[in-house]
């Protein structure tokens, strides 16, 4: 499809390391991580987490869940809501769409409800929230919170969820079914994921060390991220960044283990490059999936080493805010976009010694360098892969 037509109008990211993009830039510049030893209430797992404490006390009444609190807190940051108000007035609220990505939706609330069942084992009044206890919870809540009345959908493909929102957003815009679209991702810490990943023996007892020789597992985190996308011809202002290409694929291998040769991931990367009409060597920076698990980093690292030259600089940013699952796709896409706008590549935090079997350009230190084309990888359970490419609109001009 014709792609070079989708502009990023605005974006915001909220994670354990920073409430918004402005703070994130400072944290990245100072190489300050947001990880902490697990202090999630009633969880005694020996691991590190990326927790956003600011959402602990948010009360949303009938919409209450930790996930919705995260979504609401993220929406308050920067100019996202103000931009949406402008677009609702300019096009009508029904011509704006919402595409949310999440892996947990609001299962945190269902967990809490089950700990407060009445004497008959039934849900108590406080927890009788049909619009919260279902996988479309994030889409329903963000539509409610923003007053957007156009189509709102939730994509739940585990850890690729909020990368795929960009692909769906591009298709909706190109099909003219909406004039602007708010794409987002939200996921929060809950016992399902903490104890689920623990059951798979994937959690590290220390801060995660993506691609390091001594990595021994992942850290879990929570986040929200949003971006407003529009067709270029309709933009009055934008960030100077376009969605240049996307690639979506399946591993067809296993529910929780990546394909041993990364064939699905390779296909997603190749599709994204083809759509962007770029050879691999044109990619200046890749924000890798880099979970710090043995399997992912080994497979992804070998694949990147085989596909990209040493001039393509890479990093995993999970050492800053942990693996935020369904919110990781957009969180890391926005880090890549912001790297292109600021010409600063975030380092791969906590990397001391690159895995002996890997050979590609990655370092713990930040690098200042002019960037034109950036990429972000997201791979999820079920073998669900998505790769995104973003470009500065006119590489001959300084558009940042």
């Amino acid at each position: 499809m014709k792609i070079r037509n989708i502009r990023i109008v605005d974006y915001e990211s909220t994670t354990a390391v920073a409430d918004n993009i402005e703070q994130l830039r400072i944290a990245i510049k100072n190489q300050k991580s947001g990880l902490r030893k697990n202090d999630f209430p009633f969880s005694d797992l020996d691991t590190w987490i990326g927790r956003v404490s600011a959402i602990d006390d948010i009360d949303l009444g009938e919409w209450q869940s930790r996930n919705n609190a995260m979504a609401a807190y993220g929406l308050q940051q920067g100019t996202i809501l103000a931009q949406l108000e402008n677009l609702k007035t300019r096009f009508r609220p029904s011509r704006v769409g919402i595409i949310m990505g999440s892996s947990t939706s609001s299962i945190d609330r269902t967990e809490t409800a089950y700990r407060h069942l009445d004497e008959n084992g039934a849900l108590t009044a406080e927890y009788q929230q049909a619009t919260v206890h279902n996988p479309h919870g994030p889409g329903l809540f963000v539509a409610h919170q923003t007053g957007v009345t156009g189509p709102a959908i939730t994509i739940n493909t585990a850890c690729s969820s909020s990368a795929k929102v960009f692909a769906t957003g591009a298709r909706w815009l190109q099909s003219l079914v909406v004039d602007a679209v708010l794409v987002g991702g939200v996921d929060t810490l809950c016992y399902s994921v903490l104890h689920g990943f623990d059951s798979l023996q994937l959690l590290s007892q220390d801060p995660c060390k993506p691609f390091d020789n001594d990595r021994d597992g992942i850290n879990l985190g929570e986040a929200s991220g949003y971006a407003i996308l529009m067709r270029a011809e309709d933009c009055e202002t934008d960030t100077g960044i376009e969605l240049a290409g996307y690639g979506e694929s399946s591993d067809a291998h296993h529910m929780s283990h990546p394909h041993p040769e990364g064939l699905g991931a390779k296909q997603a990367i190749e599709s994204a490059l083809t759509m962007a009409k770029l050879p691999a060597e044109e990619i200046d920076y890749i924000n890798l999936h880099g979970t710090s698990s043995q399997a992912n980093d080994s497979i992804e690292g070998k694949l990147i080493g085989s596909m990209f030259p040493s001039s393509t600089q890479c990093s995993s940013t999970k050492g800053w805010m942990a693996h935020t699952l369904g919110a990781a796709g957009i969180t890391e896409a926005l880090i890549a976009i912001d790297a292109a706008r600021t010409d600063l590549i975030p380092g791969s935090l906590n990397l001391s010694n690159l895995d002996n079997e890997l050979d590609f350009s990655i370092t713990a230190e930040n690098i200042e360098r002019p960037l034109t084309h950036v990429m972000s990888n997201s791979f999820g359970f079920g073998g669900n892969n998505c790769c995104l490419v973003f470009s500065k609109i006119d590489s001959n001009k300084d558009s940042a």
Binding site: S94, A113, G139, A143, T168, S250, G264
Partner: protein
């Protein structure tokens, strides 16, 4: 701009539910008004290897069975088909399992049940069983799951000029969540849609999709009693509003609720009962 029409054609249908085991039986229930009888409580999709099938949750088996039927009927290899899976309720039996275990002291989850709890479990089992490496999507739209999944799949089919398989499936709700998510019916249906050229206006089962800026309710259908229960309870069974048009003699239009202020208008031209 809002009168922009997107076109595709429906190539094949598959289905498995409380009262039918394939599209032929379902289409007979839609056309003859015969009283339905209960089928087995779960399909046994042969395409999932036996050891995996034992571990596959009911919603996955529903989705894979109807997906397989549709691709077989279309004569298409699933390897070449992008897919969109939608469930309005998710796997509430697994949610129930997880939340019960997590309400106890030890919080020890089964790793298999944990990885099966992802909403894209059906897409995962499907792509693994068939060797499909194409884009697989898994979406949710609560009460508007059917219309939102059609929007998602048709825009994908048109923009990428490639066929797409869409599977709508929901299984009965767990006891504790049933007061909120009132569904005790198993229902699954799959469609294979293909791009159409402007010149091919005479294609059978040509589907025209258009967004309309007005709210609407799900249309009343004259359905056999059991199907009517599914249609009212099960978010995925609302695809019956579209499947019903396939059984008619002439073109028909339905307006489906999509969001607070939009509806999805679907017109089916040249209906032909595909098998």
């Amino acid at each position: 701009m809002s009168d922009n029409i997107l076109r595709c054609s429906i190539k094949a249908v598959g289905g498995w539910g409380q009262n039918y085991t394939n599209w032929q039986e379902l289409s007979e229930l839609l056309t003859t008004g015969a009283t339905a009888e209960n089928t087995a409580s779960s399909p046994k999709p042969e395409i999932i290897p036996a050891n995996e099938r034992r571990r596959a949750p009911l919603p996955v088996k529903l989705a894979v069975e109807s997906s397989w039927q549709a691709t077989q009927s279309a004569g298409l290899d699933p390897k070449g088909l992008a897919c969109v899976f939608v469930s309005g309720l998710g796997d509430t039996q697994l949610t129930d399992y997880m939340c019960k275990v997590l309400a106890t002291e030890n919080m020890q989850l089964s790793p298999t049940k944990f990885h099966n709890s992802v909403h894209n479990a059906a897409a995962g089992y499907w792509t693994i069983s068939t060797g499909c490496m194409k884009a697989a999507n898994s979406v949710a739209g609560f009460n508007e799951s059917v219309s939102l999944a059609i929007l998602e799949a048709v825009t994908q089919c048109v923009q990428e000029q490639a066929p797409v398989q869409i599977t709508f499936y929901d299984a009965p709700s767990s006891e504790i969540l049933k007061p909120l998510l009132k569904n005790d019916q198993s229902f699954s249906a799959s469609l294979i849609i293909e791009p159409v050229l402007e010149s091919n206006q005479n294609d059978s089962n040509l589907l025209e999709m258009q967004l309309v800026s007005q709210a609407t309710e799900w249309p009343e259908l004259d359905l056999e009693t059991h199907l009517d229960t599914s249609y009212k309870q099960n978010p995925s069974a609302r695809i019956l509003a579209v499947l019903n048009m396939l059984t008619k003699d002439s073109a028909d239009t339905v307006l489906l609720p999509l969001s607070a202020e939009t509806s999805l208008q679907l017109t089916l031209h040249n209906p032909k009962l595909v098998n």
